[in-house]
């Protein structure tokens, strides 16, 4: 690498490393799965709380904020401690589920679960705020009076009307997952975070090039959100 020279060699070197693409795509996969699990968990929860259980809102908000007060290291050791032993039927030695840490799919399930927890504060807040801007209760009742069932109401009415919030939550979750190191390192997952961390240990320029690339990706994602949600923002503002 040339010192005191402006060039794109650091980018060339970083991108030519096969580990870069492999770990980055792996993290993308984990991020996509985490976003899907988060949406499946958070949207019905936030919807039901707004619709039928407003008294549970404070408790759920408190639970979703736990990742801010409990460090990720505690989460990962908790996961390892619980899921590194087999699940047995009580008082028998019949194994129900093998230790999740012992096989790849199991470890992926664990890390997606962990990432879902880490992303909860962002995803829940985004979705809840999105639902506040549309009157979900009245929209639900309007749809019900026209014969719609719960599945139709959520997929055709609620989800499209909170898509801005979902995209915001998804972007934040994506950013957390792609750069996350602690969970991935301790669970032995070959993700982008640990790769970047290791690269930083013995290279000077490539980590900076990759960090800048991830910023570009974030900007691109934000631009896409603006493009997709332009109409909806206009709708929300027109009253």
């Amino acid at each position: 690498m040339d010192r005191d020279t402006l060039s794109l060699k650091a980018y060339q070197s970083a991108f030519s490393d096969p580990q870069f693409l492999k770990t980055f795509l792996y993290s993308m996969f984990l991020a996509a799965m985490t976003i899907l699990v988060s949406i499946a968990l958070v949207v019905p929860t936030a919807y039901w709380i707004r619709l039928r259980l407003p008294q549970a809102r404070r408790i759920v908000e408190f639970i979703t904020l736990m990742p801010f007060v409990v460090p990720a290291i505690i989460l990962v050791f908790g996961l390892i401690r619980i899921y590194s032993s087999p699940f047995e039927i009580p008082f028998t030695s019949i194994v129900l589920i093998q230790p999740l840490t012992n096989f790849k799919v199991g470890t992926n399930i664990l890390i997606i679960g962990g990432y879902t927890v880490l992303g909860l504060p962002y995803m829940y807040r985004s979705v809840d705020t999105g639902m506040r801007t549309v009157d979900v209760r009245t929209l639900t009742e309007a749809a019900q009076s026209m014969g719609a069932n719960w599945g139709t109401i959520i997929t055709r009415i609620i989800l499209p009307n909170v898509r801005t919030a979902l995209l915001s939550g998804a972007l934040l979750t994506f950013a957390i997952v792609v750069g996350e190191v602690v969970l991935a390192s301790f669970l032995g997952i070959p993700a982008f975070g640990p790769y970047l961390f290791l690269l930083g240990q013995h290279r000077a320029y490539e980590p900076a090039a990759l960090a800048f690339t991830t910023f570009l990706l974030t900007w691109a994602a934000m631009g896409i959100i603006q493009l997709i949600t332009g109409g909806q923002s206009q709708a929300a503002g027109a009253h």
């Binding site: 009245t138 014969g147 139709t152 929300a236």
Partner: protein, 353 residues
């Protein structure tokens, strides 16, 4: 058998009774308004018809079918909300055709029906617009078209005009009534606006504290209120505690004056307390035409209200309002002047407490 029957409906939320002993039969094609102040149970009753609340007691039947415990999406009921509740992600046509899509109607039929409905609300060219591109009145008309697209058995309107300005309210309520009559659809209309209820309804159900105070045509409810609440809630009213003087002659006394009423007081004894009411427009100056009851009074205040002039008179310690039509040549007495006012025997209404 009536088309919509609410039999002895009640609804209790925790320790609060929202609706109690509600009995109502609505005929096909009739528009019945639920009128009452906030918290009187009118919206709760409407929501029970829609299926959003399950009654604690009683039954609801539409066209002879018991729907009391049916889910909202299994009742053939259209609903219009105060906040319009148009789906922001769908166009006007998408909103109007939503129910038809759910019912899996063929797309040709959906297009045809949506066009019909948009024609009905005089918005045929608005199909591709989104709700945020419409005014409040237009949004509520789209909500009406959406509710009617499925040809529901019963149309429910929950304070549909409350969020609109006064002029639009008047024109839209006439439009709603005209469409309802044109289609012959059975409708329940919830409002706290007495003028709206009086102008749009075949019958009015006046509610207070979760129960029915009176059911009747707008004419009956306004002119012959059965309870003190109905009399005070609908229109302006002079209400007084009176004492029976002569039950045979139907004579009562308020303060120092005696009045005769057309209503029978034969069940009362001399000295019984009754509540009476006189509408301000039933009083007039005796110089115009002398009627059965004559009252000597003094002018306390005169208020100009546009089409009418409201005169406040005082008789001893009793204050009474009298309305007279405005005209440019009207000669009104001066404040403090002594005048004789008059009303007929029919104008003196005996109220149940």
């Amino acid at each position: 058998m009536a088309y919509l029957e609410l039999n002895n409906i009640s609804k209790v939320f925790g320790k609060t009774t929202a609706v109690e002993d509600f009995d109502l039969q609505v005929e096909k094609g009739e528009l019945v308004s639920f009128l009452g102040p906030s918290g009187c149970g009118k919206t709760t009753t409407l929501r029970m018809v829609a299926g959003f609340e399950i009654p604690t007691g009683g039954t609801i039947a539409i066209n002879g079918i018991n729907v009391t415990n049916k889910a909202p999406n299994q009742r053939d009921v259209g609903m219009i909300f105060q906040s319009y509740a148009l789906f922001p992600n769908l166009t006007v046509a998408g909103n109007v055709g939503f129910g038809l899509k759910i019912a899996k109607k063929p797309s040709d039929e959906i297009h045809k029906r949506v066009a019909e409905m948009l024609e009905l609300i005089h918005m045929p060219e608005y199909g591709n617009r989104y709700p945020y591109q419409l005014s409040g009145g237009q949004q509520q008309r789209v909500a009406l078209a959406r509710a009617l697209a499925l040809s529901p058995d019963v149309l429910l309107l929950d304070e549909p005009l409350s969020a609109l300005d006064a002029k639009i309210r008047v024109s839209l309520r006439a439009e709603i009534r005209s469409i309802q009559q044109e289609l012959g659809i059975t409708a329940i209309y919830v409002t706290h606006d007495q003028e709206e209820a009086l102008s749009i309804s075949d019958r009015i159900v006046v509610m207070y504290n979760g129960h029915i105070e009176q059911i009747g045509s707008p004419f009956q409810v306004y002119n012959f209120p059965e309870t003190a609440f109905v009399a005070s809630f609908i229109g302006t009213l002079n209400a007084f505690d009176a004492e029976v003087v002569d039950p045979q002659a139907n004579t009562i006394r308020i303060g120092g004056i005696q009045l005769n009423t057309e209503e029978s007081l034969q069940e009362h004894k001399i000295g019984d307390k009754v509540m009476i009411a006189i509408r301000p427009e039933r009083l007039s100056f005796s110089s115009d035409l002398k009627k059965a009851n004559l009252i000597n009074s003094q002018i306390e205040n005169i208020t100009f209200l546009g089409s009418i002039v409201r005169v406040e008179v005082v008789i001893g310690d009793i204050h009474m309002f009298m309305d007279t039509f405005n005209n440019p040549f009207l000669e009104l007495p001066k404040i403090g002047e002594k005048v004789e006012i008059t009303c007929s025997r029919q104008a003196v209404i005996i109220l149940n407490h």
